[in-house]
C-alpha cells in the first residue's frame, strides 16, 4: 500500500545560496506527503491532535541523489515500511519532473498523549487502516 502526492513545486525561499533546495526542506516535503496520505485515507491529523494524540518524529534519514532547484516539480511516493506498532515508519521517494529519483528517506513517528505527555499505543483506527 502506498500513495503518491500531487505535484509539488519548489518555492524560491527553499533554495540556499548554493542554488539547491536546502536539505532541511526534504523533511518538510516528507511531512506533507504523509499528512496528504492520511487525509486521503480520511484521517485528519488536525483532529487527532485535538483529540490529544500527537505524532512527533523520533528518527529520520535521507539520502540525496540529485539536487532540486527553484521551480522544479516533483512528486513523493510514501508507504509504510512495516505494520504499525508503538511507532509508524514511513518510507519516501521523491521523483522530479524528468522522472529522475531525487532522494529517498524514512521517518519514524511515535504516538504521544498530549494530556499525559507520555508515549501511547497506535490508535485502533490507524492500526485498522494499515493492517
Amino acid at each position: 500500500m502506498n500513495y503518491t502526492t500531487k505535484t509539488i513545486v519548489v518555492r524560491y525561499v527553499e533554495t540556499d545560496q548554493m542554488k539547491f533546495v536546502h536539505h532541511s526542506n526534504y523533511l518538510k516535503y516528507f511531512e506533507m506527503a504523509r499528512l496528504e496520505w492520511l487525509a486521503s485515507l480520511g484521517v485528519s491529523y488536525a483532529s487527532m491532535e485535538k483529540d490529544g494524540i500527537l505524532m512527533p518524529v523520533i528518527s529520520l534519514k535521507t539520502e540525496l541523489k540529485k539536487p532540486l532547484f527553484f521551480g522544479d516539480e516533483f512528486q513523493i511516493t510514501v508507504s509504510l515500511k512495516r505494520p504499525p506498532t508503538a511507532t509508524l515508519e514511513f518510507v519516501y521517494h521523491i521523483v522530479n519532473q524528468f522522472g529522475q529519483k531525487v532522494c529517498e528517506g524514512n521517518t519514524i513517528l511515535a504516538f504521544l498523549s498530549s494530556e499525559k505527555n507520555c508515549p501511547i499505543r497506535c490508535p485502533k483506527f490507524l492500526l485498522d487502516l494499515f493492517t
Copy 2:
C-alpha cells in the same frame, strides 16, 4: 527606552539563491529582538503563554536598505513606538558588523486570551514596565 541585542550571526540556511538573506527572515530576527528584550526585563514570554496570554503579530513593515549575507554579524536595536494600549508597537533597526544600517521595521502585536480566543488588554505588568 530601548534595547540592543547580542550579536546575531547569519545562518547559511537563511540565504536564498540570490545569496542574500531571504526577506522573510527579518521578521524572525525582529521576533528574537523583542523576546530577548522582554527576557532582559524579566518577562518570560513562554510563561505568559502558559498563563493564557498570546501576543500575535497583526501588522508588520520592513524597509531593506542593504542585503545581509551568510556569516554577517548584526545587532538589532528595538524600542517601543508609543506607550502600550490594546496593542504594542515595536520599532527595530538592524546594523551590520561594518556599522551599516541594514534595515528598519516595525511590528504591532495584539494581546489574545488563549482560553477565550479573544483580544484582551495589555497585562498590567507590561503596562507598568513600559510606562
Copy 3:
C-alpha cells in the same frame, strides 16, 4: 490587471506553538503568488536570474486580519499597485476556504544586475507586460 493563485494548503511546519501560521510565512506566500503570476504571463524568473537580473524585495508590509491554521486552504490575489518604474510594487490579498479575508500586504521589488551588483531599470519585456 490581477491574478489569483491556485489553492495553497497550509503546511504543518508553517505553524508555531500559538497554533497560528507564523507571520513570516505570509511573505513566502506573497512570493509564490507573484512568481506564479509572472509564470502565467510567460515570464520565468529563474531565466531572468540566469540572464543576470535579480529582483530583491526592498520593502514589505502586511496587515493580518485573521490567523491561518494548519490545513487551511487559501488563495492569493495579486496585482500591481502602479505602472513599473525603477521598482515594481505588488499588492496581495489572501482569502481562506471560508471566503474570509485573512490578510493583505504589499512588497516593493528592485531590479539588480547580478554582474555589476547595482540597480538597473525595469527590463523592457516586463514594462511591456505591465503597461
Copy 4:
C-alpha cells in the same frame, strides 16, 4: 578531535503547534555547528564557495531523544566520524541546559566544483586539517 558550539537558544519560530522544535530545524542546527567548527579552525566556508568549492549534504540521519522547547538553550558537539575521503562525515550530539541528551545525528557532505558542476576530491587544506 571534536568541537563544542557556543550556546544556542531555541527561537520561537522554530516551534510548531505541538510546541516542540520542528524536526527539520535539527539539520539547521547541525549546519551551524559544522560551520562554526570550520570557522574556529580558520576555514571560511564562504571563501571556499567563492573559490568554487561547494559542500552539499548528500546523506543525513537524526535520532531525537527528547524535544527542545522555545527558549531552551543547547550546545552541539561535532566531530568527524572518519578521516576525510571524497566525502566528509560529521557526527553531532545536542545537549540541553539540563545536561540532557536531546538528539544525535550525522551528515555526509560531498565536494562539488561549482564551475564544472561535478564531484571533486577533498581540498588539500581540509585533508591536512583533519588528518
